[in-house]
């Protein structure tokens, strides 16, 4: 390249108006840096929402009976769930696999009544996969071997005006449609930090749900992975190994409203990126066209000497490539520190919104937002900068190629 006169011509042409070139590079760099930041932000948001959904009990994915998907009934159980659970727990990529069985229940204490979805859980695994139950403000969480006890959310306790040790009358509909009741002692009260979420929590042992409903087993197995990026890869492997009557649902299928929120943000982010890149594109096209108009006579001379159009296009492309590469470098210099800062230290929305915790769709969201940061920034910065510059150079290059040598030389004669 360095031996090519055309390449030297391209490089030195950029240095001819060094101030304009530097401004162009800074413009490309700044625009692309903002795009990197925005893309890092939405990537971080998707990961945060996925992890928030996983940590709030949904897991990165869940194993459910096939018929559960359209109606989401609590009546189904997974055939052979213990074998599936054992295989998942033996897998090193799985951090925790926790079985659950749900039943719609009516809780009563004295004259107070509350309708709730009672969840039967594995007392040892549940706190590992569900951060909603980790903050016990009174009593304790469930232990293996617990019978006829329950742990409820603080908002449920307040509504029923109960405390630890109080008996709760629980009424459910069994597998034959008959009403069944039991007295459960309140063993613990949990507070998630969100009243909305606290009002949904009523946990019992898995066996308790079986005793009450007459339906043994688990209706779902929530799986939290060691590395969230394995959702598609490992999830695909698991799904392929499952029998036909059992399905795997990823977090976004389980929480479509949350996923839709992320997708809306992603669409906005794409729109922002498109707007910024359009502004960059027009700015560079304008600067490049001005440069071509200034060099019209020069292009006329080159054409007169017999320089073919494709060689001129190559020179213009080389100029755009150099400009874009330098712009990509500036984008990294500006975008990487900003994205790294938000990825490392985060933005505390709890402070900004004056809220201790943020809950959405039964998910407890970390109030400190973290961007995504990684090697992906490097190719993306150069791709955005070089693509924008090359595309914006097309019209000026076409204009340069079309320069009629006789006219160009006559103009300044």
């Amino acid at each position: 390249m360095s031996h090519s006169i055309a390449a030297r011509y391209a490089l030195r042409s950029l240095r001819r108006h060094s101030r304009r070139t530097m401004l162009s590079i800074f413009g490309i760099g700044l625009g692309c840096a903002i795009c990197l930041f925005v893309i890092g932000w939405v990537r971080g948001e998707r990961r945060m929402m996925m992890n928030a959904a996983a940590a709030s009990g949904s897991g990165h994915f869940s194993i459910v009976p096939e018929g559960w998907i359209p109606i989401r009934t609590n009546d189904f159980r997974i055939d052979g769930w213990e074998g599936i659970l054992a295989r998942l727990r033996a897998e090193p990529r799985v951090r925790v696999a926790t079985p659950r069985a749900r039943v719609d229940a009516l809780l009563a204490f004295g004259t107070q009544v509350a309708a709730i979805e009672m969840v039967g859980v594995d007392p040892r695994a549940e706190p590992l996969g569900n951060r909603l139950v980790r903050r016990v403000v009174a009593g304790r969480y469930l232990k293996a071997g617990d019978e006829e006890v329950t742990v409820i959310g603080e908002a449920v306790a307040d509504r029923l005006r109960v405390e630890v040790g109080d008996p709760l009358m629980v009424t459910v509909s069994d597998h034959e449609g008959e009403m069944r009741s039991a007295m459960l002692r309140i063993e613990g009260i949990v507070a998630t930090g969100s009243r909305e979420l606290d009002a949904t929590i009523c946990h019992v042992a898995l066996a308790q749900v079986a005793r009450l409903t007459g339906r043994a087993g688990a209706g779902e197995i929530a799986v939290t992975l060691v590395d969230a990026r394995e959702v598609e890869g490992f999830g695909g492997e698991v799904a392929a190994a499952l029998p036909e009557e059992i399905s795997l649902l990823t977090w976004d299928e389980l929480r479509p409203e949350l996923s839709a929120g992320v997708e809306v943000d992603e669409i906005w982010a794409r729109l922002v990126v498109i707007i910024i890149m359009t502004v960059v594109f027009l700015g560079i096209a304008s600067a490049q066209l001005a440069a071509v108009l200034e060099r019209r006579r020069e292009f006329g001379v080159l054409s007169a000497l017999g320089m073919p159009g494709h060689r001129l296009l190559r020179v213009m492309s080389a100029e755009a490539l150099l400009l874009g590469s330098a712009g990509g470098l500036v984008a990294l210099l500006l975008g990487v520190p900003a994205t790294w800062y938000v990825a490392t230290f985060g933005v505390d929305f709890g402070k900004l919104l004056k809220m201790d915790s943020i809950a959405m769709s039964n998910i407890l969201i970390d109030p400190i937002f973290h961007s995504d940061f990684g090697w992906w920034l490097v190719p993306l910065a150069f791709f955005l900068a070089v693509a924008a510059t090359l595309l914006s150079s097309l019209y000026p290059a076409w204009y340069a190629i079309r320069t009629d040598p006789a006219t160009a030389l006559r103009v300044d004669h």
Partner: protein
């Protein structure tokens, strides 16, 4: 041997808005290989237009113009560019060197465009030496005098070993001494290498070097005569 250039009733009309401006109105001309010919005439007489036609920079509106066996009017844009690159050389009034390239690189660029490989730098240096600028090879045009720039332009024009070099008012921006030096240089290249030169001028000192003079007025050839050729070279 067929003439290098043969023009028969060549016309050129420029269309400016709704107005037709005839620049050439029926030129008949033959140029033989090895000639050192001047096209003279007042401004607006059609000298540059005729040179542009012969140089395949433009095409005639009417008539027939054959250059090096090629009918210019029948060539595509690409074919004309090929003809210019491989068989023609140009020297412009305003030198028109590429300002960001050194003298050597300006000469080398044409060779690169021609696809000359490893020997291109050596050849470019040799040509610069022939025009007496070997010591200025690494200077950019803005560090050269007008006369030196025009000598680099001549070196660039002959670098591709063309059969025909066209020079449009090559001495117009030069002082007397430099103009004289340039004409000697071009005449030497003409006599030593057999390169045909056609140049336009209205400088009487330059006209004196021509073997043959064609005078244009209002787009027509009004006079043809044998020049005095004061250069001392044999015709």
């Amino acid at each position: 041997m067929p003439p290098l250039v043969e023009a028969r009733s060549v016309t050129k009309v420029y269309h400016t808005g709704n107005v037709d401006a005839p620049a050439l109105r029926g030129i008949d001309l033959k140029v033989e290989s090895g000639e050192f010919m001047a096209i003279v005439g007042p401004s607006g007489s059609g000298k540059t237009t005729l040179l542009n036609m012969i140089g395949a920079l433009d095409v005639p509106t009417g008539g027939s113009l054959t250059v090096l066996g090629e009918e210019i009017g029948g060539l595509s844009k690409r074919a004309r560019a090929e003809l210019r690159l491989h068989k023609l050389g140009f020297v412009f009034q305003a030198y028109n060197l590429v300002p960001v390239l050194t003298a050597l690189e300006n000469v080398e660029f044409v060779l690169e465009l021609q696809g000359v490989g490893g020997e291109r730098r050596r050849r470019a240096r040799e040509i610069l030496a022939q025009v007496g600028l070997e010591d200025f090879a690494d200077r950019r045009p803005n560090a050269l005098s007008g006369g030196q720039q025009q000598r680099v332009a001549v070196a660039r024009a002959v670098a591709s070993r063309p059969r025909l070099v066209l020079a449009d008012e090559p001495t117009a921006n030069l002082d007397g001494e430099n103009a004289e030096m340039l004409m000697h240089l071009m005449r030497n290249l003409n006599s030593d290498h057999g390169i045909t030169f056609i140049f336009s001028t209205h400088d009487s000192r330059v006209i004196a070097h021509a073997q043959r003079i064609v005078r244009l007025e209002d787009g027509l050839v009004v006079e043809r005569k044998i020049g005095e050729d004061k250069s001392g070279h044999e015709a």
